[in-house]
């Protein structure tokens, strides 16, 4: 795990992304006439990667990570009120290209849905298209969805001799919420829970 050297294409890519994100963040609310300005002064949900590890063996590329975060007040409120929330972990593997945008050779996504069941006071975590499990406490439930180990993000055959890197994003995905709610919470820092990491594969 060497720290990522400054790389032109990487920077370019991230700039583009940042632009896109900024555009969407600025445009969408402002187009809705900014009727209700985003409430300021609310502490943004903080998230940090407590563990992040990319390993490559003969089978492929594996990722271990753990995210530690605290939900913002608004998000917690919504969770308690039995609104389903979605957390998304996304890993992309890129191949360096000096002459063009770097080529994405793999893209894997994991989505978790967490919902509070007031009838039984349990938290139910469902990996989309997969298993679901009940947890009696929120911490347990969040713990379950905030980490993965040996997550295979690329096959060995997809990689070649060149230089590769992984872009990892873990976020609270509000785009999967109902649209009116998206519009309602857009621009609220409570709901902006995102952590990113870019890492070279050696």
């Amino acid at each position: 795990m060497t720290p990522l050297p400054p790389h032109g294409s990487l920077r370019r890519r991230s700039v583009l992304r940042a632009l896109g994100v900024a555009a969407s963040r600025v445009l969408v609310p402002s187009l809705w006439l900014g009727a209700l300005a985003a409430p300021g002064g609310v502490r943004a949900a903080e998230a940090e990667l407590t563990a992040f590890d990319v390993s490559r063996d003969e089978d492929g590329v594996y990722l271990n990570y753990a995210v530690n975060f605290e939900l913002g007040k608004g998000v917690e409120d919504a969770l308690v009120k039995s609104v389903p929330l979605f957390f998304v972990a996304e890993a992309e593997v890129f191949r360096d290209r000096w002459y063009w945008r770097d080529r994405r050779i793999a893209h894997t996504v994991r989505v978790w849905k967490i919902v509070f069941q007031p009838l039984t006071s349990t938290y139910r975590v469902t990996t989309v298209g997969g298993l679901s499990q009940n947890y009696p406490t929120r911490d347990e439930a969040l713990f379950a969805l905030s980490r993965s180990s040996r997550w295979k993000i690329a096959d060995a055959g997809q990689l070649d001799d060149g230089h590769h890197y992984v872009e990892f994003t873990y976020r609270l995905d509000i785009t999967l919420l109902p649209r009116p709610m998206q519009i309602g919470i857009s621009g609220q820092s409570d709901w902006q829970l995102v952590v990113k990491r870019t890492q070279r594969i050696n």
Binding site: A35, S82, V83, Q117, P118, L119, R179, P180, M181
Partner: protein, 783 residues
């Protein structure tokens, strides 16, 4: 709405404007229709509350709307800026356009804003009203009710299970299927099992036994049961569970079976009791949960929903307003177009531009108006063209008339109603030798020297107006003798005018006059010829007998008389004979003048002729009074030798006579060829020049009339004969006085004349004009 093709384009065809504006109207209406359709679809998506459809189309609909709105904004901004620019530039018609557009825009925007305001209030209020505290409370209560019921079941089952487990432990007759079955009936449980510490089923009874093995108890539950003696929980009430799963909603309780005999190694056992929850209860509880969740979700999304509705409304308003604005501009364009067309046409007509006007192609009154205007303009233009044409014709006619007038030899004067001079032609000026054109607008009798003439003419006009003579219905004719040119020390000149007068429309009067002085002179010549001929005839007849009688008297009486008588007789007879001879000569001269012998034209060398004639004047030549300067290489002319000989003779004699009394009198006879620019001989000129006293002006004017002479002796027929012969030869005769320098000074005062000159120009040359000569011959023979 591009500017570009400026209006100043030539060839104003029938209005490109309507086509363009209708195209624009099409574009705009299409745009508006698309926009309205999109808005409707958007509203439909919202209204039907079909989240799938709505979410699938939301984004692109939104962006398309935004794009449309931006396009509309751009178009409106462009159109508005253009309109304002035109207004500021004072472009014609822009104010009307602006006014119309403002009116239409107001009509479009006001209702839109009103509806928007009402809708805004409605949306914000109604969304708030959905989220009622009571509803929320009721949902909470329902949820709590369900939870309470399930909790009660759970705790009840826990208690029962604990008791049953204790009983099982005490009875020690452990694990008999029968007692287990009895226990299941007691508890009305669905399934009862005894499991080992690892969760393995030791003994089971219940509905599940017939089929599958009972569900394995999670170790976590066992662990809890171990510490808390009993644990129970509801299962199968998950939010994502299907309806079928709801039927399997159940409560499971796990209790430790206490061991009575504390034998070592004896296995720890658990009693697991599963009791199903009534499906109705489970379904209701889940329904309440779902409703609660939905409600909370919506409550959270409330502001977003409000924003969305209002955003949609605003977008719709913006689209509607922009559409209204665009339509306003387009409509006002449409409406103003014919008016502008008309106004511009009027302005053009006012400027005098009558070119064909654009027509607005529509079937309404405005179109008709423009059409009528165009027709009117065309008619006006045609009328003007006609007027112009006739003016040109009149101008042409006037120019014609003017040319004719200017080139008339006759004098023409037009008097207006008041008798003032209105029009004078150059002929009048020439004839009267007065600058008559300077007297325009004044009466004729104000012209110096013409007062008598004017009065006479005027009397004649009055007379004609009052009592027209028979045979002169519309004009009168008279001849007047007029003395002119008397001023400036000159001798007044007498001219004869033949004046014809006529009345013109509007009281104007026309006077046409001719200088017939020369005609009168010619008539005089003619009369003289006649007189001479008759006199010659009448006188000549008795002359011979007279002479013969006188000679006979002398013959008979010659020897019979004596002395003085004889002398007297001889003298008398001699006198008679001489006088008769003289008279004969005179008569012959008259006869010659009156009846020149018929000319016989031939090719003549003028020089030879001159030399021949000068042979008769040997004495004068020797005395140095006469000499000839003959140019060499003269072309031959066509003429009668005999007559020309006489001409030369007459001229030379005249000239010698004129200088006879001067000691230094000299006569030159000159011949020369007159050549044109290319050096070709055009005429032959014969000049006889003397340095005598010259002609008096009176004589000069009438030099060629018989009996006009400066000489004391002579008949005065010399120059008359010359003129006559020259006329027959088609030659031009000019008589002039010479100034002191010897130059031609015809206008010089007679006192200053230093000689006279007679020139004869023969333009009929033998070599070139043979045919003309023949014609002349024929002509002369006919006479």
């Amino acid at each position: 709405m591009s500017d570009e093709p400026r209006v100043g384009a030539p060839a104003p065809g029938p209005a490109p404007l309507p086509g363009r504006s209708s195209r624009w109207a099409w574009v705009i209406s299409t745009l508006a229709a698309v926009g309205a359709g999109l808005v409707l679809a958007f509203l439909l998506g919202v209204a039907t509350n079909n989240p799938a459809l709505y979410e699938r189309h939301y984004v692109w609909l939104f962006w398309v709307n935004v794009a449309l709105a931006s396009t509309l904004v751009a178009v409106i901004v462009v159109a508005g800026v253009r309109l304002l620019w035109r207004v500021s530039r004072g472009r014609f018609g822009s104010r009307l356009l602006l006014k119309l557009a403002a009116i239409f825009a107001l009509v479009g925007i006001l209702p839109g804003v009103l509806i928007y305001t009402v809708s805004y209030q409605f949306v914000s209020r109604s969304i708030e009203s959905w989220f009622d505290v009571k509803v929320e409370g009721a949902l909470d209560a329902g949820l709590n009710l369900g939870r309470g019921t399930i909790d009660a079941i759970v705790s009840d089952l826990a208690t029962k299970t604990r008791l049953a487990a204790e009983r099982l432990g005490e009875s020690a007759s452990s694990a008999e299927p029968l007692s287990l079955e009895r226990l299941r009936e007691q508890l009305s449980a669905k399934e009862i099992a005894v499991v080992g510490s690892a969760g393995q089923t030791l003994l089971a009874t219940g509905s599940a036994t017939s089929g599958l093995m009972p569900e394995r108890v999670p170790p976590q539950m066992l662990r809890q049961a171990r510490t808390q003696r009993v644990v129970s929980q509801a299962e199968g009430l998950d939010e994502d569970a299907s309806a079928a799963a709801n039927a399997s909603a159940r409560v499971r309780a796990v209790a430790v079976i206490p061991s009575s005999n504390f034998a070592l190694g004896e296995q720890e056992r658990f009693l697991v009791v599963t009791q199903s929850i009534a499906p109705g209860l489970a379904a209701n509880a889940l329904a309440v949960t779902n409703a609660y969740r939905e409600y909370q979700q919506r409550a959270l999304a409330r502001s977003g929903l409000r924003k969305m509705y209002i955003g949609t409304l605003t977008l719709a308003l913006v689209l509607a307003v922009f559409g209204a604005l665009l339509l306003a501009i387009a409509l006002s364009n449409q409406l103003a177009q014919p008016l502008l067309l008309l106004a511009e046409g009027v302005a053009q007509v006012a400027r005098g531009d009558l070119s064909s006007k654009a027509v607005f192609k529509s079937r309404d009154e405005l179109g008709g108006l423009t059409r009528s205007f165009a027709e009117m303009t065309t008619q006006l233009s045609e009328a003007r063209e006609l007027v112009h044409k006739s003016v040109v014709q009149v101008e042409g006619a006037r120019a014609n008339l003017q040319t004719i007038l200017d080139n008339l030899t006759a004098g023409v004067i037009v008097f207006d109603r008041n008798g003032a001079i209105d029009t004078v032609n150059p002929g009048a000026t020439r004839i009267l030798k007065l600058p008559l054109s300077a007297y325009k607008g004044r009466r004729l009798d104000e012209v110096a020297g013409l007062d008598g003439f004017a009065q006479a003419v005027w009397q004649r006009f009055e007379l004609h107006a009052e009592s027209p003579e028979a045979g002169e219905r519309d004009h009168w004719q008279d001849s007047f003798e007029l003395q002119i040119g008397g001023s400036g020390g000159r001798e007044p000149e007498s001219i004869t005018l033949l004046v014809r007068g006529a009345a013109m429309p509007q009281g104007a009067r026309l006077m046409v006059f001719d200088d017939i002085t020369e005609l009168v002179s010619a008539q005089r010549v003619e009369a003289w010829s006649e007189v001479a001929r008759r006199l010659a005839h009448e006188i000549k007849n008795p002359l011979t007998p007279i002479q013969l009688s006188a000679e006979r008297l002398q013959q008979k009486l010659g020897g019979k008389l004596a002395g003085a008588d004889q002398g007297m007789l001889d003298r008398s007879v001699t006198t008679i004979v001489n006088q008769v001879q003289a008279m004969k000569a005179l008569v012959n001269e008259f006869r010659d003048y009156a009846r020149l012998p018929a000319s016989s034209f031939d090719s003549i060398d003028v020089n030879a002729l001159v030399v021949e004639v000068l042979g008769l004047y040997g004495a004068a030549q020797e005395a140095g009074r006469l000499h000839a300067e003959l140019a060499a290489g003269l072309p031959a002319i066509v003429g009668d030798g005999t007559q020309l000989r006489q001409v030369i003779h007459n001229l030379v004699q005249n000239a010698l006579d004129a200088v006879a009394e001067q000691a230094d009198g000299r006569v030159r006879i000159v011949t020369e060829a007159v050549r044109n620019e290319s050096g070709e001989a055009r005429a032959v000129r014969l000049l006889v020049v003397d340095n005598g006293p010259g002609f008096s002006e009176k004589v000069l004017k009438r030099a060629f009339e018989p009996y006009v002479t400066t000489k004391k002796k002579g008949t005065g027929l010399g120059l008359a004969v010359v003129k006559k012969i020259a006329d027959e030869h088609g030659a031009r005769v000019r008589v002039a006085n010479l100034g002191a320098s010897g130059e031609d000074a015809g206008d010089a005062a007679p006192g200053s004349a230093r000689g006279a000159q007679v020139s004869l120009s023969f333009s009929k040359l033998a070599a070139t004009v043979r045919v003309a000569a023949n014609e002349a011959v024929a002509e002369s023979r006919l006479h």
